[in-house]
């Protein structure tokens, strides 16, 4: 029972962000109009993805130092969950882009950087499945995981900030806080991020336990 507190908390936080995020008063006079509410849903997918990949990266490092195969399994399941979040983020982002920048895809550095990152992680799954020997598979995929995580930080976190980007807070663009002088958005956005991270961890843990049972 004690172990499931975070699950209930995650569900409640996401539910709060869904309900209050739709009902709250939003800052007026922004060109985003009502779509500014997507901040609670679309952006939290990316935060959750980075958290999942971070957990995967951390478990990959620990695996390399301990050679404990359960850590490899954890790393894999978290990466899988991160992949799901990134697909959700990408699809919702395309939807938002169509009605804000009037195109499904632009050559925005953040979009292309994300696409490259997702290809790296897809390569991670292909690499994993192409090796038969369990120990070898775990070791090689842990090394690749570390590489992919660092690449994600570079492509999503650093490069878009150094050039011009349509995304807020990048390349001289103002961040979301200019629309939000009284921090109204934050009281929904941060709980949404925490909630999705908890729910994501939960689903990854279910996948991990199932994988453990199978072996």
């Amino acid at each position: 029972m004690k172990g499931s507190i975070y699950k209930v908390l995650g569900v409640l936080l996401v539910l709060y962000s869904m309900i209050y995020g739709l009902l709250m008063d939003i800052p007026e006079d922004t060109f985003l109009e009502e779509t500014i509410r997507n901040l609670f849903y679309h952006v939290s997918m990316w935060f959750a993805m980075v958290a999942m990949m971070g957990g995967s990266f951390w478990n990959a490092i620990r695996f390399l130092s301990t050679e404990n195969l359960t850590l490899d399994r954890r790393s894999f399941c978290l990466a899988e969950m991160g992949m799901l979040f990134s697909f959700m983020g990408l699809l919702t982002g395309m939807m938002w882009a169509k009605f804000t920048w009037s195109t499904w895809w632009t050559n925005d550095p953040k979009l292309n950087g994300t696409a490259v990152t997702m290809l790296f992680y897809l390569a991670y799954f292909v690499l994993r499945n192409s090796i038969e020997d369990t120990r070898k598979k775990a070791r090689i995929s842990a090394v690749f995981n570390i590489f992919a995580f660092v690449m994600m930080i570079v492509f999503v976190g650093i490069l878009p900030r150094m050039t011009d980007s349509l995304h807020p807070g990048n390349g001289g663009n103002p961040g979301f806080n200019i629309y939000d002088s009284d921090h109204r958005l934050k009281i929904v956005f941060y709980p949404a991020v925490i909630g999705w991270i908890l729910v994501g961890t939960w689903i990854a843990s279910l996948r991990y336990r199932l994988k453990t049972l199978q072996e």
């Binding site: 499931s4 699950k7 569900v11 996401v14 539910l15 309900i19 939960w202 279910l206 336990r209 199932l210």
Partner: protein, 62 residues
């Protein structure tokens, strides 16, 4: 059934506010959408909890 009953229970408080002209009809009926979204997410969460319980049961058998 064990799964759908809690979902149906969600509707009980709604019956009391669902009369004509009640709060559910204000603000362009946005509350209807909010409740629909909430039901979907609660349903998914309940399903996850059941899945969690089933996996725990399997683990205990081993």
């Amino acid at each position: 059934m064990r799964f759908f009953l809690p979902l149906l229970l969600l509707f009980l408080p709604l019956f009391s506010i669902a009369q004509n002209g009640g709060p559910m009809y204000s603000n362009g009926r946005i509350y209807v959408v909010v409740i629909v979204i909430a039901i979907i997410f609660i349903g998914l969460a309940l399903y996850l909890f059941l899945l969690d319980r089933k996996i725990t049961k399997l683990e205990n058998e081993k």
